[in-house]
């Protein structure tokens, strides 16, 4: 799921929307909510991470711009530039995650060997007939999706009844497992592949340091770049686990089903994620940052209070203790915005309080994008052509989703468009384009 991190200057938001649709003034309802939503200044969005163990949901806050009738020229430019910058801010981590996964798949043989299946996919695909195999993969998918739905509903219930300690403990347990156990396995396999000897004390030291710093960065405070890097790494590790343990056809059917579920859960009024988001919105709380990738960098600054250029890469400290009174969630512009009136948007005013708005993307989206590309790399017989086609497809989908986010200004599922494109590109490239390109290449023909 995709989220905008709010900027406080709502007229930019207005122009972003109007510049993409038409120059209409926003409905008055938006203005009301904008005043309410000023405390966190976050542009609403939900995002969701799809972990196999847990589902996270994000607070949904609706921010609309308040002031219509701005000179459209300069602000359109700025918002387009900001919008484009958001897209790039997400291209880079998604690309990095996919590169890590594909590089590992291509070099470390462990992740392409079949060594059993998860308990979530109990039906085997080693069946004599195609129909049986298809049936088994569909059943696997149903079980997996029901597990995910059950976890999501459980999480929603926990959140509704304010069992924050439990949720927090759950998140810590799962990041512990990712950061220590999966890293240990990954490191072991990489060392085996390259035939590098490492003694146990060194290994222990390395894994311990990596994991401990990761826990601190993700759940407490740390430099933004380091936190982003850790989130990318754990997404890649999780994707590798999925690629290894999901059988062939089940993986593709699961990808398709997850996109449909994402669409339903985020957009339907009674969807669990939407309910979670609305609950968080009522309580004005941010949601669990441990499983969200956030690209925001600096605070929003008040009007002429602070020099934006001096902010540099200040990191907003994240307070993990979910006290109900003081929230200072990670990466979100915080209190200085509360006292900021909606600006009448002179261009100098805008630039002065030019903050780095960011976008948030759930880690589950990272994971499933990487699963798709990794599976293409692992099984697509067209080698790199198929992988590259899927990679481009996912980026196109992400770009379109971000465009829609700019248009609709609410939480959007990030999976459906990208995964649909990815699946279409995978199957068409593998079956139509690859034989063609292979024949061309073998005869050195260029078209």
């Amino acid at each position: 799921m995709l989220t905008f991190m709010a900027s406080d200057s709502e007229e930019e938001v207005c122009d972003e929307r109007t510049s993409l649709m038409s120059a209409e003034s926003p409905p008055p309802r938006c203005c009301q909510e904008a005043r309410q939503g000023l405390e966190d200044g976050e542009n609403a969005a939900q995002w969701r991470s799809q972990d196999s163990e847990e589902d996270l949901d994000d607070a949904d806050r609706y921010v609309c711009s308040g002031v219509p009738g701005q000179p459209l020229g300069l602000e359109e430019e700025l918002t387009l530039k900001y919008g484009a910058k958001h897209v790039i801010m997400l291209f880079v981590p998604v690309t990095l995650c996919m590169i890590v996964v594909v590089a590992t798949i291509k070099s470390v043989r462990f992740y392409t060997e079949k060594n059993g299946q998860l308990i979530y996919t109990p039906f085997t695909e080693d069946t004599p007939s195609v129909g049986q195999r298809l049936l088994n993969s569909v059943l696997n998918t149903l079980i997996m999706i029901s597990v995910i739905v059950a976890m999501t509903i459980f999480l929603v219930v926990l959140y509704k009844y304010r069992c924050y300690k439990f949720i927090h403990g759950w998140l810590i347990m799962s990041s512990l497992m990712l950061l220590f156990l999966f890293t240990y396995i990954y490191l072991g396999e990489v060392l085996k592949t390259y035939n590098v000897a490492m003694d146990y004390p060194t290994l222990f030291l390395t894994v311990w340091n990596f994991g401990a710093v990761g826990m601190v960065c993700i759940h407490w405070k740390g430099p933004l770049v380091l936190q982003q890097a850790y989130l990318i790494m754990i997404s890649a590790l999780m994707a590798l686990v999925f690629i290894k343990y999901l059988p062939e056809w089940s993986a593709w059917v699961i990808l398709g089903a997850i996109s449909v579920y994402d669409l339903v859960a985020v957009l339907c009024p009674k969807g669990p994620l939407r309910m979670l988001v609305e609950t968080a919105q009522e309580r004005n709380e941010p949601i669990f940052p441990a499983l969200i990738y956030s690209s925001a960098m600096v605070w929003t600054v008040g009007m002429a209070k602070l020099d934006p250029s001096s902010q540099g890469a200040l990191q907003l400290p994240y307070d993990p203790e979910m006290e109900e009174d003081s929230y200072d969630s990670f990466g979100e512009p915080s209190y200085p915005e509360v006292f900021e009136p909606p600006l009448p948007g002179s261009p100098e005013g805008e630039l002065e309080e030019e903050e780095e708005r960011g976008v948030k993307l759930g880690l589950g989206d990272f994971i499933f994008y990487s699963v798709l590309v990794g599976k293409a790399a692992a099984t697509g017989s067209g080698d790199w052509n198929t992988t590259l086609a899927c990679f481009v497809a996912i980026l196109i989908g992400l770009c379109l989703t971000l465009l829609l986010l700019a248009v609709f200004k609410k939480a959007l599922p990030a999976l459906p468009i990208s995964i649909t494109f990815g699946l279409i590109f995978y199957f068409s490239t593998d079956n139509l384009v690859r034989p063609f390109m292979d024949t061309l290449a073998s005869h050195q023909l260029y078209i």
Partner: protein
């Protein structure tokens, strides 16, 4: 075969494209989006109503580069990855020495070199074709469109004369130079501006100083 071969071929084939990307596109996020979306950027044009000619040229350049990179990558990347592979071409466990002596090795090398340079010239050609084509569409110069199409077909047809790599490459490069000159003049350059650029006298003509959107 070796890392040297891999990097050498990779940089020959993709070096100019990468340089073009780094110096002209990577700094501007909007251009990156145009690169990825390519033809779909027609829709994005509608959100940029103030821009007229400069952004069309930019769009043409970026689209051409995008198409060129994609076609180059698709054509060449499997060869690249093979060159990183085990290097034993004899799949039945023949020693490389045997293979070297059998006389097939030079052909593989020639093939790979031909592919490398063809990829390079194809990428550049796509960039120039993009610029000329977009300009032709905009100014309704159908002759330009026709010439672009015909030269595209000509270059492809030239690759059919497969083992004669020399003629193939040289003629394709000549076509590329001609297209490049044409695209330069289409994009608004002139002999004077070229002189200024080469003598670094006029900063406005340096591409990365252009603040066109």
């Amino acid at each position: 075969m070796t890392a040297a071969v891999f990097f050498g071929c990779a940089f020959i084939a993709f070096g100019p494209a990468l340089a073009l990307y780094i110096f002209t596109i990577a700094t501007e996020p909007l251009r990156v989006i145009f690169l990825i979306i390519g033809k779909a950027s027609e829709g994005l044009k509608s959100i940029n109503p103030d821009e007229t000619a400069p952004s069309m040229r930019l769009l043409a350049y970026v689209s051409g580069l995008g198409f060129g990179i994609m076609s180059g990558v698709f054509a060449f990347v499997n060869t690249l990855s093979d060159s990183l592979g085990p290097g034993t071409v004899g799949i039945h466990g023949d020693s490389p020495q045997f293979f070297l002596n059998s006389g097939a090795y030079p052909l593989i090398e020639k093939t790979r070199l031909n592919k490398t340079f063809m990829t390079l010239v194809i990428i550049l050609l796509h960039v120039f074709w993009g610029i000329i084509f977009f300009d032709g569409c905009e100014k309704k110069k159908w002759s330009a469109l026709l010439v672009v199409l015909l030269t595209h077909l000509l270059v492809s047809a030239l690759t059919f004369i497969s083992p004669h790599y020399g003629i193939n490459l040289v003629s394709t490069y000549i076509i590329m130079v001609l297209m490049g000159i044409w695209a330069f003049f289409v994009a608004g350059g002139s002999c004077r501006s070229l002189k200024f650029c080469l003598l670094c006298q006029d900063k406005d003509f340096l591409l990365f100083n252009q603040r066109s959107r």
